[in-house]
């Protein structure tokens, strides 16, 4: 069992979110590309696929994917700012901003999809 006591700080949590979202997105990516590639063989076929994704379960999964993507994007920008621009200050604020951006994108998606 992993001891959480040495790992309970914001930038570690940001790493966990980045790794988990990255793992899920990387596993989803081939599936996403394959299914889309197969569905786009004609307008009718694509339309049929899109109507299938109208079910609530697919919409919930889409929302989760959008949040994962936004979280990975925002977290990745933070890491690259540290690596390439040397932004060493206010790392914890940047973690909070990344989390806020991810949730905001999810919310906007939900508002538009509804």
């Amino acid at each position: 069992m992993m001891d959480l006591r040495p790992r309970s700080h914001p930038t570690y949590l940001a790493f966990v979110v980045h790794r988990a979202s990255g793992l899920l997105l990387a596993l989803f990516l081939p599936l996403h590309f394959w299914v889309l590639g197969s569905a786009i063989t004609g307008e009718a076929r694509l339309e049929g696929f899109l109507r299938w994704t109208d079910n609530p379960l697919a919409k919930a999964a889409e929302t989760i994917l959008v949040v994962l993507l936004a979280a990975h994007l925002a977290g990745g920008l933070r890491v690259m700012a540290l690596e390439f621009l040397g932004w060493r200050r206010r790392q914890k604020d940047m973690v909070a901003i990344s989390a806020g951006v991810a949730l905001l994108v999810g919310l906007v998606f939900l508002l538009n999809v509804a």
């Binding site: 006591r5 040495p6 790992r7 700080h9 790493f15 980045h18 540290l82 690596e83 040397g86 790392q91």
Partner: protein, 245 residues
């Protein structure tokens, strides 16, 4: 915070496969964790092995795992880490072989300083001779300020014990060795820049760092090894992309 009358201290005894032993230590004002360990060894159990020297946060030899976190014990006040129940858990530093009780073997940690080319090599006299003239290094220059930011490391291995990448990859150099390398990369008098950058590149070096920043979070000297490693990545990125290495 309420002050308990006595501390219930669980201390790691034995080697890797050892176990905790319980001790009751009277609580005192302004008591440090090192004071507690010393009390146990002097008054309760002289066979306890631990390591310390200066007691004032300079030598870097007394670091241990205190209630799950790596800390310098001589400058850690008990009241900062203990709740009203007075429970204190002491283990040797993580990610290092255990010699006995609270003493960890720091050889892998210092070996990696060598592997990361942590030794200054004067540019003017690679044969080790004393240079003829003083080097002029403006203290306000960018490189010097980068070097100064990491120069106060006391080699306590708190960062090394706090880093997950060290646990995941036995070859990984770790935060302190790369922080040292970064100070030398920024030292305009140093002549081993190329070899040093080679030594810290790749999966065993800076490119495996995931910026969890546990090193920066835990460093008792408030240094920022995470940013030093990011600096090494930055220099190596441009050097690799522009074919400078």
């Amino acid at each position: 915070m309420a002050e308990p009358a006595s501390l219930k201290v669980s201390v790691w005894r034995g080697g890797e496969d050892g176990a905790f032993q319980r001790y009751e230590v009277p609580a005192r004002t302004n008591q440090t964790v090192l004071d507690v360990v010393t009390h146990i060894q002097r008054e309760l159990d002289p066979s306890l092995a631990y390591r310390f020297a200066c007691r004032v946060g300079m030598c870097g030899s007394c670091a241990m795992t205190v209630n799950g976190r790596a800390r310098w014990t001589c400058r850690t006040h008990v009241k900062r880490v203990v709740d009203a129940d007075g429970a204190l858990e002491l283990r040797p530093l993580a990610n290092l072989p255990v010699i006995r009780d609270l003493a960890a073997d720091l050889s892998p940690f210092f070996d990696k300083w060598q592997r990361a080319r942590g030794t200054f090599l004067p540019k003017q006299s690679p044969d080790g001779a004393v240079p003829e003239d003083f080097a002029v290094v403006p203290p306000a220059s960018k490189a010097r300020r980068e070097a100064d930011a990491g120069i106060e490391c006391i080699g306590c291995a708190v960062c090394y014990a706090s880093c997950d990448v060290v646990a995941w990859n036995a070859d990984y150099l770790g935060p302190a060795a790369m922080n040292r390398a970064w100070t030398l990369v920024n030292d305009v008098r140093d002549g081993a820049r190329g070899e040093r950058l080679d030594a810290v590149a790749g999966d065993a070096g800076c490119h495996s760092c995931h910026s969890t920043q546990s090193c920066t979070e835990r460093c008792p000297k408030n240094l920022d090894p995470s940013s030093a490693i990011a600096g090494l990545k930055r220099v190596l990125f441009w050097d690799t992309l522009l074919g400078r290495r």
